[in-house]
């Protein structure tokens, strides 16, 4: 059954939902994938049904390194979804992957939304979350067969300055 229960959510990950199905299938094999256009070779972080650069509908899932940098973040102390209440305050990060950063246009990048987790797969402490920090993908395997790509802080030094809002 392609319907998974996770934190009181029902996730309908069905084969016909062709833009997203492969992302979660690859996650089960602990691979982080993005779509690669088979005509212009550009990657895209949001899978989509056609290439935003050349309009080709020919694409394949392409494994990426899973290394990236926190591009933006938020800390959620007030969960809207009931299943996330025991996780609060939890971080959600927008990660810019190393591949194709700043291409094809200056401010473009492959950006993936996920939680920032610690080594025990619990939400990372808020004071450790900052824009500019380096992260690696990790895979959160559930008993029901669902795997979610997530991120964890890397030992790598940040390439530039890091930033988090002061006194929070």
């Amino acid at each position: 059954m392609p319907v998974y229960e996770y934190k009181d959510l029902l996730l309908n990950i069905i084969e016909q939902d062709s833009e997203y199905f492969g992302y979660f299938e690859a996650a089960k094999e602990h691979k982080l994938v993005v779509k690669k256009c088979l005509d212009c070779d550009l990657l895209r972080g949001e899978p989509g049904a056609s290439c935003p650069w050349c309009s080709s509908m020919r694409s394949e899932w392409h494994e990426v390194s899973g290394k990236g940098t926190i591009y933006s973040y938020q800390i959620i102390p007030h969960a809207i979804l009931p299943g996330f209440r025991d996780w609060t305050p939890y971080p959600v990060v927008l990660v810019e992957l190393d591949e194709q950063s700043g291409k094809p246009l200056e401010h473009d990048g492959l950006r993936i939304t996920a939680n920032l987790l610690d080594e025990n797969m619990n939400p990372e402490h808020e004071e450790n979350v900052a824009i500019g920090k380096r992260v690696n993908v990790v895979f959160q395997d559930m008993e029901n067969g669902l795997t979610l790509p997530q991120f964890t802080l890397s030992d790598e030094e940040p390439a530039g300055a890091i930033w988090r809002y002061p006194n929070t």
């Binding site: 992302y23 949001e46 591009y71 959600v92 401010h107 930033w163 929070t168």
Partner: protein, 406 residues
């Protein structure tokens, strides 16, 4: 390019229900009351309405159902899927329908039990909706509400331009001052910067509770017809100078793939509407800037060019947005203090401003007499309003705009 239709269509009627948290009524009953109030305001009968437009998120009543209650024979109607920034866009579509000869007088409505039934904030029934499609990339990570879906833009903007919680709080303070002179407002009490930054966090670092708008039960209605027909109706016509949107950032960008992510759709909508209107920022006397959150106001003033990128906080801090200053914003209190209506109330307020008939606490406002004393419990009519602008927001990536004239 200047619009060939500028000033050829008018807003001739406006109406709303009470703004409550617990209407105890259906969206159908709310809608009919708002439409009735707008029809009465215009000096029309229900049966004079032959076009209808609405927007909803699966949480409202359809035009065809209301036609029964109105005894109306419709020549045109559409119920569109959409949220914020639809108000302005549907005013444009109403003009299009009339211009195409499909109908003559269009009632645009939005009806929502946004507090007691379907909450835009995502709690209640919306939290248990099965997830598929693009939502699979965000919802399993605990993103559900509007502010959570916008927060990556907000936080990144804070970093780029040094915006603080206090900067954001000043938006709420200004709008609360305005709401204190609005008998209809859900939250009339004036608040301070400290009140806002001491309210509980909703999303760190970009939104405290008082940075967020007020989920409200309400319906609202705006009636559009030709300027020619408007001359024979009850109210002083308010002319639709130009409308633009809903427009998007390049690529739609609902998942932050393009940048800068702190630059919002108004950056693309703005130049077009000023071209269509053949006007500039200096011509705008009053703004209505979609305030789902304090941050949406900061970003839109920048995107529409009322200030430079990064200077939205300074624009607010300068006081220009306050009643009594050069270009007041959201004089009704907006979504933050009057009510959350998905954008309708800020167009309604600007219509009242242009008529000189703001429903404040001035004893003789119904005859257009105002004190221009903006202290608490007083006046909120702006002097000599000739031109207003609305800036609608659906998300960082989608927005719309409307310029009205007297």
């Amino acid at each position: 390019m200047e619009s060939a239709l500028k000033d050829k269509y008018s807003i001739v009627g406006i109406g709303e229900t009470d703004y409550t948290r617990g209407s105890g009524r259906s969206t159908r009953a709310l809608a009919i009351e708002a439409i009735r109030n707008a029809v009465t305001d215009a000096g029309l009968k229900m049966q004079d309405i032959d076009g209808m437009l609405s927007y909803h998120g699966g949480d409202s009543v359809n035009s065809s159902t209301l036609a029964y209650d109105m005894g109306a024979q419709l020549n045109f109607y559409m119920d569109c899927s959409g949220g914020g920034s639809s108000t302005e866009a549907l005013i444009g579509l109403a003009i299009g329908a009339i211009e195409a000869g499909m109908c003559e007088t269009v009632a645009i409505f939005r009806s929502m039990n946004g507090y007691s039934q379907v909450r835009i904030g995502g709690t209640g029934s919306r939290a248990s909706t099965p997830v598929s499609g693009p939502g699979l990339m965000t919802r399993p990570y605990g993103l559900a509400s509007a502010v959570q879906s916008f927060a990556f833009s907000f936080t990144r903007h804070m970093m780029e331009y040094g915006v603080t919680s206090e900067d954001l709080a000043r938006v709420k303070v200004a709008h609360s001052n305005h709401a204190s002179n609005n008998p209809k407002a859900l939250m009339k009490q004036r608040v301070t910067v400290d009140d806002v930054v001491n309210s509980r966090w909703i999303v760190r670092p970009c939104a405290h509770l008082l940075d967020c708008c007020l989920e409200t039960d309400n319906a609202t209605c705006i009636i559009v017809t030709s300027a020619e027909r408007a001359k024979d109706l009850k109210q002083q016509p308010v002319y639709i100078r130009a409308v633009q949107g809903r427009g998007t950032k390049p690529g739609g960008d609902f998942h932050y793939q393009h940048g800068p992510i702190s630059r919002v759709a108004g950056h693309y909508v703005g130049p077009r509407i000023f071209d269509l209107a053949d006007l500039s920022h200096d011509d705008i006397d009053v703004t209505g800037c979609y305030d789902a959150f304090t941050y949406t106001v900061v970003l839109q003033f920048e995107a529409y060019g009322f200030c430079e990128e990064g200077e939205g906080k300074d624009y607010i801090k300068s006081g220009i947005v306050n009643l009594g200053d050069k270009r007041p914003n959201n004089t009704s209190g907006g979504h933050l203090c009057e009510a959350y209506t998905h954008g309708m109330n800020m167009v309604i307020e600007n219509t009242r401003q242009l008529r000189g008939m703001v429903d404040d606490y001035c004893p003789d406002w119904q005859n257009g007499n105002h004190t221009y004393d903006y202290s608490e419990g007083g006046c909120r009519q702006v002097r000599n309003v000739n031109t207003t602008m609305n800036m609608g927001w659906a998300s960082p990536a989608t927005g719309s705009a409307l310029i009205l004239r007297r």
